[in-house]
C-alpha cells in the first residue's frame, strides 16, 4: 500500500509536468488546428536556458533565486515561441494543414539538432536551485519539497492561465479565434496577434515544465523534449484537445498510469503505454474525456 501511494505521488508530480506541456499543445491546437511538434523542444530549450542562466548567476539555492531562473526561462521561451510562430507557421496560415504539420516536424528537428550543436550532445546536470528535504514521511511514503514545488508551481500557473483565458480581453479573443478565424477577424480581432499570444503563453508554460523537470530529474540533454512532448500531446488528446481542464486531467492520468506501469510491470513498457492509451482513446472516444465533438462540414 505504501508503495502504491508513493508511486501515486511520483506519478502526480510527473503528471503535473505533462499537464503543463499538454496545455501548450491544447491551446495551439485550439487556435490553429495544428499539432505543434516543436512544443516538446521548446520545453528542452526552457530547461537549457535555466541551466545556463543558473550557471552564469551561480546563486546557490534559495526560493527567490529559483523564481528568478523560472521567470527568465519562461520569458526566453515565450520569445522563442513568438519567433517560431512568426517565421515557420505564419507563412503557412492558408496552406493545407498537412504542410503546417510537416513544418512543425521540421522546426522540432531543427531545435533538436541545432540544440545539439549549440549545447553539445552530452547530458548536462541541472543545478539544484532548491535545497531538498522531506516534507512528510508517512509510513515510508515520502513527499519531498521538490514534488511539492512542482505541484504548487503548476497549480498556480494553471490558475493564472485560467484567469487569462476566462477573464481578460486577450483570452476572450483567443476563445473567439478558436471558433472561427474569419468571424474573429470580422469583429475586429487581430487574429495574428492573438495566435502570437497563444504561442507565447504556451511556450512559457513549456519552459516552466522544463525548469520543474530540471529540479526533479537533473539530467538534461538536447533530445529530452522529444518523448515527453509526444506523451504530453497524447495527454492533451486524452483529456480532449482544445479543452484546458482536459489537458490537466489528461496529464495527471498519463503521469500516474506511466509511473504505475513502470513500477509494477516493467519500465521498458513505459514508452509504449502512452501510445497504446492514444490508440485506444482514439478508437473509443476520439474527442477525449472533456472534448466536444464537432461535425466536419464541406
Amino acid at each position: 500500500m505504501s508503495q502504491f501511494l508513493q508511486q501515486l505521488i511520483n506519478g502526480l508530480a510527473w503528471g503535473s509536468i505533462y499537464a503543463l506541456l499538454a496545455l501548450g499543445y491544447t491551446m495551439v491546437y485550439g487556435v490553429l488546428r495544428l499539432i505543434n511538434f516543436a512544443h516538446g523542444d521548446v520545453y528542452m530549450v526552457g530547461a537549457m536556458v535555466g541551466y545556463y542562466f543558473a550557471r552564469w548567476m551561480a546563486g546557490g539555492s534559495s526560493v527567490p533565486y529559483f523564481l528568478l531562473v523560472l521567470a527568465v526561462s519562461m520569458i526566453a521561451c515565450a520569445l522563442l515561441g513568438l519567433l517560431i510562430e512568426r517565421f515557420a507557421y505564419r507563412p503557412l496560415r492558408n496552406a493545407p494543414r498537412l504542410n503546417a504539420l510537416i513544418t512543425a516536424i521540421g522546426v522540432s528537428l531543427f531545435l533538436e539538432y541545432f540544440g545539439q550543436y549549440l549545447f553539445g550532445a552530452d547530458p548536462k546536470f541541472f543545478p539544484s536551485l532548491l535545497p531538498t528535504w522531506e516534507v512528510f514521511n508517512f509510513h515510508g511514503v515520502i513527499l519531498n519539497n521538490i514534488q511539492l514545488v512542482i505541484f504548487i508551481v503548476s497549480f498556480l500557473l494553471m490558475l493564472a492561465l485560467r484567469y487569462v483565458v476566462l477573464k481578460t480581453k486577450t483570452g476572450k479573443a483567443m476563445r473567439a479565434v478558436s471558433f472561427s478565424h474569419t468571424a474573429s477577424y470580422l469583429v475586429g480581432i487581430n487574429v495574428n496577434r492573438v495566435i502570437a499570444w497563444t504561442f507565447a503563453i504556451g511556450s512559457a508554460l513549456a519552459a516552466a515544465a522544463g525548469i520543474l523537470v530540471g529540479l526533479s530529474n537533473p539530467k538534461i540533454d538536447p533530445l529530452m523534449g522529444l518523448v515527453p512532448g509526444l506523451k504530453a500531446f497524447v495527454a492533451a488528446v486524452l483529456g480532449g484537445i482544445g479543452s484546458i481542464p482536459g489537458a490537466l486531467i489528461g496529464g495527471l492520468i498519463m503521469g500516474v498510469a506511466e509511473t504505475l506501469v513502470a513500477g509494477y510491470l516493467s519500465s521498458t513498457y513505459r514508452n509504449a503505454l502512452a501510445f497504446i492509451i492514444l490508440i485506444v482513446i482514439l478508437l473509443v472516444k476520439p474527442t477525449g474525456i472533456l472534448g466536444k465533438s464537432t461535425q466536419e462540414k464541406v
Binding site: R97, E112, F275
Partner: protein, 314 residues
C-alpha cells in the same frame, strides 16, 4: 513483345552492373548504391500513402522494421530446415528462391500488420493519424526490444547475406512500376480523390476508408520488402536503425521530392542518400540542414523540388 524486350534488357542491365560493381568498386561505394535502392523502395512506398493518398504516415520505419525482422527470422529459422529437406535442388537455384520467399514473407507480414494498424486508425483525420502511426512506430520498437528470439536489445545477427545490387534495384524498379501504374489507373484516381477532398469522394459513393486502407496495405507491403532487403544486406539488425528519425528521413525524401510526384521523390531520394556521405565532414550539421530544408521547402514550394508535378493542385 516490346514489354518483354524492355524487361529483358533491364534485367541484363542489372546483371551487368552487378558484375561490374562486384569487380571494380569498393564496398563503401557499393553500400551507398545499395542504400539508394533500398531508400527508393521505402520512399516510393511512403509516397503512395503520404503523397498520393494524403494520409500522413509517421511510422514508416516501423513497417520497415517488421519487414526486416520477419524476413530475417524466416531466413535464420526456416531456411536451414528447407535446405535440409531439398538436397536435390542445386544451391544456385535454391538460394535465390529462398531469398524471394523470405522477402515475400516479410512483405506479406508487414502488409497484414499494415491492415491491422490501418483499419482502426485510418478513420482518424490527418493529424490524429500522424500521431497514431508515430505511436505505432514506437510500440514496434518496444515490442522488438522485448522479443528475445530475434535478439531483443542485443540485435539480430548472423542473417544470411542475400541482398545485392541486382535484387535491391529490381525490387525498387518493381515498386516504382507498381506505384506509377497504380496511381494512373482508375483505382489510383480514387487515392488522389481522397487526398484532394475526402468529403466529396465519400459523397460519390467511394468508401474512403477502403481506399485509405488499400493504399496503406500496399505501402506497408513494399516497406516490408525494403526492410527485408535491408536485413539481408547488412546481415545484422538492431531496433535503433528503425527509430522515429528513420521515418522522418523517408518523409523528408517524399516532401522534398514533392508529395505525389514519382520522379521527384526518386531524385530527392538519390540526393538525400548521397548528400550525408558527401557531407561527412559536417556530420553534426546534417540534420540541421535537413530540418531547414523541410521548413523552407514547405514555405516556399509546398509541391517539392520536382519540375513537373503531374497531379499538381490547381
Amino acid at each position: 513483345m516490346k514489354k518483354l524486350l524492355v524487361i529483358g534488357s533491364f534485367l541484363v542491365l542489372l546483371v551487368g552492373i552487378q558484375f561490374l560493381l562486384s569487380k571494380f568498386f569498393n564496398p563503401y561505394l557499393i553500400q551507398i548504391i545499395v542504400l539508394i535502392g533500398i531508400n527508393l523502395t521505402m520512399s516510393t512506398s511512403l509516397n503512395l500513402i503520404n503523397g498520393y493518398t494524403g494520409q500522413f504516415n509517421l511510422g514508416h520505419a516501423g513497417f520497415m522494421a517488421i519487414g526486416a525482422y520477419s524476413s530475417a527470422a524466416f531466413s535464420v529459422f526456416v531456411h536451414p530446415i528447407l535446405i535440409s529437406h531439398l538436397p536435390f535442388v542445386p544451391e544456385s537455384i535454391l538460394k535465390p528462391m529462398l531469398f524471394i520467399l523470405s522477402l515475400g514473407i516479410g512483405g506479406v507480414f508487414t502488409a497484414i500488420s499494415g491492415l491491422a494498424i490501418g483499419l482502426p486508425t485510418l478513420r482518424l483525420r490527418g493529424d490524429y493519424l500522424a500521431i497514431a502511426t508515430l505511436g505505432f512506430g514506437e510500440i514496434i520498437q518496444v515490442v522488438i526490444n522485448n522479443m528475445d528470439s530475434v535478439g531483443g536489445a542485443r540485435g539480430f545477427s548472423d542473417i544470411p547475406e542475400y541482398s545485392n545490387f541486382f535484387w535491391v534495384f529490381m525490387i525498387a524498379a518493381i515498386t516504382l512500376w507498381v506505384v506509377g501504374r497504380l496511381t494512373r489507373s482508375a483505382k489510383g484516381m480514387e487515392l488522389l480523390a481522397v487526398r484532394e477532398d475526402e468529403i466529396a469522394t465519400v459523397s460519390l459513393g467511394i468508401s474512403s476508408t477502403r481506399v485509405k486502407v488499400t493504399a496503406f496495405v500496399i505501402g506497408a507491403f513494399f516497406a516490408g520488402l525494403g526492410g527485408g532487403l535491408f536485413a539481408h544486406f547488412f546481415t545484422y539488425l538492431h531496433v535503433n536503425s528503425f527509430t522515429f528519425l528513420k521515418s522522418v528521413e523517408f518523409i523528408v525524401m517524399v516532401v522534398l521530392g514533392g508529395l505525389g510526384s514519382l520522379w521527384g521523390v526518386v531524385a530527392a531520394t538519390i540526393l538525400l542518400t548521397i548528400l550525408p556521405e558527401a557531407l561527412r565532414a559536417f556530420s553534426e550539421w546534417r540534420m540541421v540542414i535537413y530540418s531547414l530544408l523541410v521548413i523552407i521547402t514547405m514555405i516556399l514550394r509546398s509541391k517539392g523540388i520536382s519540375l513537373k508535378n503531374v497531379f499538381a493542385r490547381s
